[in-house]
């Protein structure tokens, strides 16, 4: 739920980093916190357990700059990834403008990724939000690990695409991240399919963190027009 204040010419948007436990959601925020000019960001608030597992959420406000004379401020939230915390996880999605799904690339985490993605769809649906119609980006994290599953397999399991019935949108859109592939395309059967933009990342080193933030915030700002 973006909040537009015409009096102060400010736009406030809410981004939520979702995904399985220990996938790197908090690490994404910590990297943004560490790299953004302190004047352009607020405090990083973490409601975590003593073992640094997110209990409720992490929160980081970031000023991205001015667009069309409006100051754009993004509120970055993470959710607790552990299955147990679904009640609080759902609360954080309230009023979300854009979602980043941080998947753990390790092969043995595939099940946890799938479960979390399903949970995201379910929780969004409970609020009446349609994930296929709001800014949504998938990040494949931990690409540097030897047991990382191939992106092709992750895509097939987590981001196979959804049907696009609106004929006005039936236009091939190439995927800038993966040459030769598409974000919106037609199947041989004639059906049109769209999938979420994807970034590969190694969040602990910061690789892909800002690319992901850029893609999702761009989609959010464009959706305001």
């Amino acid at each position: 739920m973006s909040m537009i204040n015409y009096a102060s010419r400010e736009i406030n948007c809410k981004l939520v980093y979702y995904g399985p436990g220990l996938g790197g959601k908090t690490t994404n925020l910590e990297h943004v916190f560490g790299k953004v000019n302190p004047a352009a960001r607020g405090k990083l608030i973490s409601l975590a357990t003593e073992t640094e597992r997110t209990l409720f959420f992490d929160f980081l406000p970031v000023d991205l700059g001015t667009v069309r004379g409006f100051k754009t401020r993004f509120h970055l939230y993470t959710v607790p990834g552990q299955v147990y915390y679904n009640a609080s996880r759902k609360l954080i999605l309230k009023g979300v403008d854009g979602v980043v799904f941080v998947a753990d690339s390790q092969m043995e985490r595939m099940e946890a990724n799938i479960e979390s993605m399903q949970n995201l769809y379910d929780n969004m649906a409970e609020y009446g939000y349609d994930l296929t119609r709001i800014p949504f980006v998938v990040q494949y994290n931990k690409r540097d690990l030897p047991n990382a599953a191939p992106v092709k397999d992750l895509q097939a399991q987590l981001n196979p695409g959804w049907p696009v019935t609106d004929e006005a949108r039936h236009k091939i859109v190439p995927d800038p991240g993966f040459p030769g592939e598409h974000l919106l395309w037609q199947l041989p059967t004639g059906e049109w399919v769209e999938r979420a933009p994807v970034h590969e990342a190694v969040a602990v080193k910061g690789d892909g963190v800002f690319d992901t933030l850029k893609t999702v915030s761009k989609l959010v700002l464009k959706s305001l027009g």
């Binding site: 406030n12 607020g42 959420f57 403008d97 700002l221 464009k222």
Partner: protein
């Protein structure tokens, strides 16, 4: 509804809200008042400038209210329309406005909980009317911002990230 609902307010709305909050400030002698929306964004604040980060405060306030809403449902209540957190010196009283925003009063021993509770109740009723009128006028669907779909806007967005 495809995505999350949004809202926007004009300068006149902002003025009316601030005036009402300033009146409450004078009537109760609270230190400061904040208006926070349910997604954790600061809408307005009056009184002593906060010594804390208002955005962090707003996100925690919204989370606090949401968590308590769920607790209310668990015990068979529809909601808790107000919350009170008592400290040794500083206390806070939070009240729901039109199910969309939260009015937070920060106060110390210069006033009393009874006084705050009493006066906030009237203000909440007035603010609820203000917000409901505002929502019915502007709607709560995604407001379209002029020029944001243009190429110029896209170039500006690209520049934000260098």
């Amino acid at each position: 509804m495809p995505g999350a609902s949004s809202w926007s307010f004009q300068e006149s709305d902002f003025k009316a809200i601030s005036e009402r909050m300033n009146a409450l400030l004078r009537e109760t002698n609270v230190k400061s008042l904040l208006l926070v929306d349910r997604t954790g964004q600061v809408v307005a604040n009056v009184g002593e400038p906060p010594t804390f980060d208002p955005q962090a405060f707003a996100s925690l306030t919204a989370a606090d209210f949401s968590a308590n809403d769920q607790l209310a449902k668990m015990i068979g209540e529809h909601e808790f329309s107000s919350l009170f957190h008592q400290g040794e010196k500083e206390s806070m009283y939070l009240a729901d406005v039109a199910h969309r925003v939260i009015l937070v009063a920060l106060f110390d021993n210069r006033t009393t909980l009874g006084m705050v509770r009493l006066k906030v109740k009237t203000t909440v009723e007035e603010l609820t009317r203000l917000f409901e009128a505002m929502f019915s006028r502007t709607g709560t669907e995604q407001p379209k911002l002029e020029g944001f779909a243009s190429q110029e806007a896209e170039d500006e967005i690209d520049k934000l990230f260098g």
